[in-house]
């Protein structure tokens, strides 16, 4: 007993954190930035004395730009004037030792993908990191550098802070031991935490390629130097990626496991790689004004068996998945790892959700990493076999989503899949408690809509489709999917169709929300009576924001006449669905149509805090719609919901 008391005493003396984050690369920074904004106490360390100075990851995919905008960070990133890739060019050897020639180009994010930003943004990782670091500092978090993790253990000394972590200053004997609720490793491929946990990396194809990567300023007459290019030549292969500040990145394959003299430790000097590039790019010349960064690294596909063992110590980013850099997915996958974990930890720690939702971090994100590795392999294979011909590309590129009814060829299908994947919009989470399906605990409730039923275009587990609407309060033309920031709230979009048709349904919805055990009433803010009138997103609860979209013209929408009190309070989230959309040209209410709802009756979409669709529900008169929401949230919330229904 004495030793237990002593241990408790010791635990009470030690500094305590909500989370200790190791590594300030993309995954660690995104997680840290979210949790800092939401008020958590964070210790964030990084081994490097300063943020990334040169090189490393640089591609922000269209879907990641949505995320950065949703966090309010896009403007600061774009202020660095990054390069933008709209098209990819293919270059192949000409017959008879005449060097390379262009065989085609395609859109990097073709029209059939409904992307708000149909391009890849290229910017050096350090500049991206600095945007996050500035935001962290606004919220009182400073990255502690250069510090590294020395040890950790999940013990019983403090139930609230079950993890003990020891960190030390690099090249110094200085150490700190702290306790924390969570430990996160965003350490990159060489992870101390992963090693300590004994988590194995599955190496699909261990070290299949050795790549040289060179950032620099060049002089060349190669016409596509500002485009992304895949160059095959009789002298080897190069990938060209434009960069900010007139730089260009070249990926040059130095060796691969298909070479007869394959050696995964093979390397090459800057001069050797430049000489190889000169040969490959003939008949064009290329000379370097300066080389900003050069690195050679062997790349093997690897996937961690587990992302956590105990839902207390988590890993993400390169720590869990490594692959070729060519598809530009590393940083983007890391961002989404960080985002996925952030709101789940927040919902557990704020008392909203059951601890079990933390399990979905691994199931959701490891699936994506698996797909990324599959894609990485098939992508390479697809284009090593042959480049697409002009007809195939134009056939695939010019289709607008949903409008193409003709049967695609196998090649075009793969092409489309690869575009969707690289853009980030191909990411789809499997069904679970958060992502409704016919296997969901609430499946017997007929008000839930599956993809096959009401909604041809919307499905759970994917990101909400972008749509443009008019905000009623100030007549601003806005991007609906961006209207609620990444603030930890579920976004409940009430598509209200024609006001005359849904008037009663909206009244009943409102009345049901007010019932004692509704999902809203159960998680009402303790300061609800003192909330500032200008609070737009969370006047009632920190976990829900309501938005109502009418199929009516803006001047005809009198918010206080059409909406009852609770819904009317979301005055800044009432919209007129009257903006033309090229993706659904034959409809009047384009946002309704994109969601698969009737223009008359509408429906309800529940979007998770990270922007992925959770469930889709019919909007009906009576309490049914809110009952269904109570059921949905009730499957993973901390409190019982909707009991009042049984009393009626």
């Amino acid at each position: 007993m004495a030793s237990e008391a002593f241990a408790k005493h010791r635990a009470s003396m030690i500094e305590k954190y909500d989370i200790v984050i190791i590594g300030a690369g993309p995954v660690g920074l995104l997680l840290s930035t979210c949790l800092a904004r939401w008020g958590y106490k964070i210790k964030h360390i990084d081994m490097r004395p300063v943020p990334t100075v040169t090189g490393r990851a640089d591609g922000i995919q269209p879907r990641s730009l949505d995320l950065l905008r949703n966090m309010g960070l896009k403007r600061a990133i774009m202020a660095n004037e990054p390069a933008k890739v709209f098209e990819v060019a293919f270059w192949d050897p000409r017959d008879g030792d005449q060097g390379i020639h262009r065989t085609g180009t395609w859109a990097s994010c073709p029209k059939f993908i409904d992307a708000r930003y149909p391009f890849t943004t290229l910017l050096h990782q350090g500049l991206i990191e600095r945007v996050f670091i500035a935001d962290l500092e606004k919220n009182g978090v400073t990255i502690q550098r250069p510090w590294r993790i020395l040890g950790f253990q999940h013990d019983r000394e403090d139930e609230e802070y079950p993890i003990q972590v020891t960190v030390g200053k690099v090249d110094s004997s200085e150490q700190e031991t702290v306790r924390t609720k969570y430990l996160f490793s965003g350490e990159g491929a060489r992870s101390f935490v992963r090693e300590q946990l004994g988590v194995k990396m599955q190496h699909k194809d261990p070290i299949a390629h050795v790549w040289g990567v060179m950032d620099g300023v060049v002089q060349t007459n190669f016409p596509d130097i500002k485009m992304k290019c895949t160059i095959h030549s009789d002298n080897g292969s190069i990938m060209v990626i434009p960069r900010e500040n007139n730089m260009v990145r070249l990926y040059i394959q130095i060796a691969s496991s298909t070479d007869p003299d394959w050696n995964p430790r093979k390397t090459a000097t800057t001069e050797e790689v430049q000489a190889a590039a000169k040969l490959i790019m003939k008949p064009y010349y290329i000379e370097w004004d300066r080389v900003e960064w050069y690195s050679v690294y062997p790349i093997g596909q690897g996937l961690a068996d587990r992302y956590t063992l105990d839902e207390r110590v988590f890993m993400g980013g390169d720590c869990c998945h490594t692959h070729s850099p060519k598809a530009g997915q590393g940083m983007n996958t890391a961002f989404l790892d960080g985002q996925n974990l952030a709101w789940k930890i927040h919902h557990v720690e704020s008392g909203f959700a059951d601890r079990s939702i933390l399990k979905s971090y691994e199931t959701e994100r490891r699936l994506i990493a698996e797909r990324l590795l599959d894609f990485d392999a098939s992508y390479a294979k697809l284009f090593s076999q042959r480049h697409p011909n002009t007809h195939e590309v134009s056939q695939a590129s010019n289709q607008i989503s949903g409008s193409g009814q003709q049967e695609d060829s196998e090649f075009v299908k793969k092409f489309k899949e690869s575009c969707e994947f690289t853009s980030g919009y191909g990411v789809a989470y499997n069904p679970n408690v958060l992502n409704w399906s016919r296997e969901h605990p609430t499946a017997s409730n007929p008000l839930f809509l599956s993809t096959e039923q009401g909604s041809a275009t919307l499905r759970t587990g994917i990101i909400l489709k972008p749509s443009t609407v008019i905000r009623v309060a100030d007549a601003n033309v806005v991007h609906l999917e961006q209207e609620v920031p990444l603030n930890g709230s579920y976004r409940i979009y009430i598509y209200a169709g024609l006001p005359a048709t849904t008037k009663q349904a909206l009244r009943d919805f409102n009345a049901a929300l007010k019932k004692k055990n509704s999902f809203l009433s159960a998680y009402i803010r303790s300061d609800v009576s003192r909330v500032d009138q200008h609070e737009q997103h969370n006047p009632h609860s920190h976990f829900f924001t309501f938005a109502t979209i009418f199929n009516a013209s803006r001047p005809d929408i009198e918010i206080k006449e059409l909406l009852p009190d609770i819904l009317a309070r979301y005055y800044d989230h009432v919209y007129a669905d009257t903006v033309f959309d090229v993706h659904v040209p034959n409809t009047k209410a384009s946002s309704h149509t994109k969601m698969g709802f009737s223009e008359e009756n509408g429906g309800v979409v529940v979007v998770r805090p990270d922007g992925y669709v959770g469930c889709i529900i019919k909007l009906v008169e009576g309490s049914g719609t809110v009952d269904a929401l109570n059921q949905y949230f009730g499957t993973f919330c901390s409190k019982p919901l909707g009991e009042s229904k049984a009393q009626l």
Copy 2:
């Protein structure tokens, strides 16, 4: 002789500037920012100890946003999250003392105006000033505060620096006397410089209104509090303007010359104005959480007789024109005053243009101010008579420019004019040496196109129409009108139609550019052989940038095959005109069509450094097109151009 020598000696001791700018409001800041970027030595003083803290001007019109973007300042302005006005609502008294009701709304920048940003941006003037001040500081200019002008004289003591200026610290005896090439007054309505020059203000309607202006945060159930509103009631009139940070500005008319007890010195306390507002806004309530700024001022329409007497001492902004703040034109007109003068001073001082072009500052900008005053009066009259009815508004708003063939009613015509004017796109400069017309010295050359001839939509003296194209070098979708920044260069847009058709014309154009006395050869950079390969805009001359737009798909445009050497050097300014434009839906090459050029043969548009169209020329084989350009520039350039033609 001795005294002359002494005077010269004294002049050589004194600090010398290219320009002394008095006042750091919008006009002074814009002028200063341009000239600082272009390397001029500037003394810039302001009487106020700090930039505008609260209140004052706040409306950035669509056309001004184009300008700010062209200067690279838009992102920093938008980072302040300004309010945006897309619609204006009209409120009128209901019959029988029942308070006000909404009678209609209209778009603040309707579809028939081809605007890149169809909204007004509302942001407190101080935040806008700070963006300019930060840019100035990057270029080594700090506003000297609080300092004011004490005296100046245009004498003969130093021909290069003919103006002597004495400035003094406010509330101190500290003084400085300097010499300068130019003196500019952006002092505002009470101008010492204007007074000293003896320039009179013409008061059309001296002090016609007394306005109260109040910025604050309110509580209200008035539904349009986030819209721009014109409210007429039986108890008086209010204009509502939304602001950043949940603020709202109310303009409340306290007295006007039509009142029976008219007194231009009438004033009112905050409480009186709030009480008046409460009466006007019935049946809605309005209460103030806080008042950030309140001011009462008598407004008279005034216009300075002259903007300069000697083309050395200039004035601009409120110093030259005062009017009601309701149309939100003050800051916007000031910006354009500053921009207009900046590049003209630059062209004279850099040796490019004849000093006589400085006369066009007054003729161009005073005309606009006159129109503003006319507009200000007629705008008030138009809507005091009646508000437009729904049919009229929808008739006017939904027409896309150029597509409406039906005859407009007088009211709709005036409505359209007023929208064009307030958006800033109605500004048109009259013909002069810079703005070609049938009265231009070069009028006998048949290659010049007038509006009546080739180009139905394009005319000289107006801003270049916006158009979206694809940049060939990197496949980026770009806004053509923004591709050349505000850097003091003329922008020569070569619409090259079909490559096969214009191939010879482009070769001949290129060859003629290379002739000894072409406008390009005459103003070649002295360091032309050492220009960095990444210089995009001015590889040959600081005064010209060439852009070539083909009616061809991007992958079919091989720049080095289609363009001869000089034009090919503008590698980043070659475009494919293949982007659909809703304003000209029935054309393939929308940018060609917008300029009024044939999709096959193209044509050339010369755009002044400030974005206004200077002249329009046929693209022909032979040297004719360049000969015409030589003639055009030759009318105001410092060197004789195109003599080589006579020798041929």
